[in-house]
């Protein structure tokens, strides 16, 4: 089975213009893995020391809530990384990652990233910068989802503000305003 790692790397933000030689160098340090439908890539709570870049297929992310029930928190599409925080800190996985369909991922370990940093700091810098931008987009998406959830399910009257009426007031902003008044 052939995978286009070069294209997947190019889909990361800021990596579009990366020369083939650099993606080739980076791909030397990545290992490929295929997953069957419903196969678990990693469990929440287990030690993590690598990131996975999804090449084909679809992954879903679930997280245990305070009562121990697993809740869906997002999907990973081709070209998106998952578990990338483990490149920078050896901490337990915060999510469980499951293949929704037959999928293929390229794995980069923290140790291998350290080698890339020594051999080609510019390449490592581009990759880390790309991952930072992915995180930024991810954060906005999670905030949007949270805001939508609150808008749909907040108890009646909970989001009402005194009559200011600005059109650009966000739901979370209303919550903050309400909470701030207390």
């Amino acid at each position: 089975m052939e995978f286009d790692l070069h294209s997947a790397l190019h889909r990361l933000p800021g990596m579009h213009g990366l020369p083939v030689e650099q993606t080739r160098e980076l791909s030397r340090w990545m290992s490929l893995r295929t997953l069957d439908t419903e196969q678990i890539l990693f469990h929440q709570g287990e030690p993590g020391s690598s990131m996975h870049l999804l090449l084909t297929g679809m992954l879903r992310l679930e997280q245990r809530d305070r009562r121990g029930d697993m809740q869906p928190v997002g999907n990973v599409r081709p070209g998106e990384p998952v578990g990338d925080d483990a490149l920078f800190e050896r901490i337990p996985r915060s999510l469980t990652c499951i293949a929704s369909t037959v999928s293929a991922v390229a794995e980069l370990t923290a140790d291998d990233l350290a080698v890339v940093e020594r051999r080609d700091p510019a390449l490592a810098s581009k990759l880390i910068s790309a991952l930072c931008q992915v995180q930024s987009r991810r954060l906005r998406r999670l905030n949007d989802l949270t805001e939508e959830l609150i808008r749909k399910h907040a108890a009646p009257g909970l989001l009402e503000l005194p009559k200011h009426g600005a059109a650009d007031v966000t739901v979370i902003g209303r919550l903050w305003a309400r909470i701030s008044r207390r």
Partner: protein
């Protein structure tokens, strides 16, 4: 280079594990600014070109709601604020103000870019720190979404307590590496490490007023 900046950085939690030579690169590249309480550093919605490391005191992030400003998060010594602007130049998601008299280190995008282009180890280390901060923010947002989704699934709606929790979580997004929220761990091994020491109070110099760093 200011010896006092170097000394302050070496005491700061964000630079705790850095080699002195790399801290010195940052001390050289950044500007120190003393702030009086209430000084505004940037405006919501405007593009950002700098970020701040809090050396002493506290900064608050405010958002405009119905024509007034409400506090949505508060950060203290050792926290980076506004660092995403160095990467994507996206509009500021909130206004940043000094919640107390404070001292911050200012890093501009221009300087950051030059550091990156020089391939200075300090720049790479800083990038790693930004990635780590971003990862923590994503983790907390994800944890929050899971908690709210679970509550909706069980109770059908969200109450006051759930919404208060939203704000509380947003004020701890710049976690240190040693802080692992209990909910990330399997139930039987849950535990939260203590917050590491922060820079001690220091004397403030002249404080700028009414000047935005962006």
């Amino acid at each position: 280079m200011s010896a006092s900046i170097l000394q302050k950085l070496r005491l700061n939690a964000a630079f705790r594990d850095w080699p002195v030579s790399e801290v010195a690169v940052f001390a050289e590249a950044c500007q120190l600014r003393a702030l009086r309480q209430g000084v505004r550093l940037c405006e919501e919605g405007k593009s950002g070109a700098v970020c701040w490391l809090i050396l002493d005191g506290a900064l608050e992030v405010l958002r405009r709601v119905g024509g007034r400003q409400v506090t949505v998060a508060r950060f203290g010594a050792g926290d980076w604020v506004g660092q995403v602007a160095l990467l994507d130049g996206a509009p500021r998601s909130g206004t940043v103000e000094a919640a107390t008299d404070a001292e911050v280190l200012i890093l501009s995008r221009d300087i950051f870019t030059r550091l990156l282009e020089s391939h200075a180890p300090a720049a790479l280390r800083f990038q790693r720190q930004m990635a780590l901060t971003g990862a923590h923010q994503v983790r907390i947002a994800s944890e929050q979404l899971a908690a709210l989704t679970g509550t909706v699934a069980r109770r059908g709606r969200l109450g006051e307590d759930d919404l208060a929790e939203v704000r509380r979580r947003r004020s701890r997004t710049n976690l240190r590496p040693t802080q692992v929220p209990a909910s990330w761990l399997p139930p039987q091994t849950s535990g939260v490490a203590p917050r590491p020491p922060t820079v001690p109070p220091s004397h403030h110099g002249a404080a700028g007023r009414g000047r935005s760093d962006d």
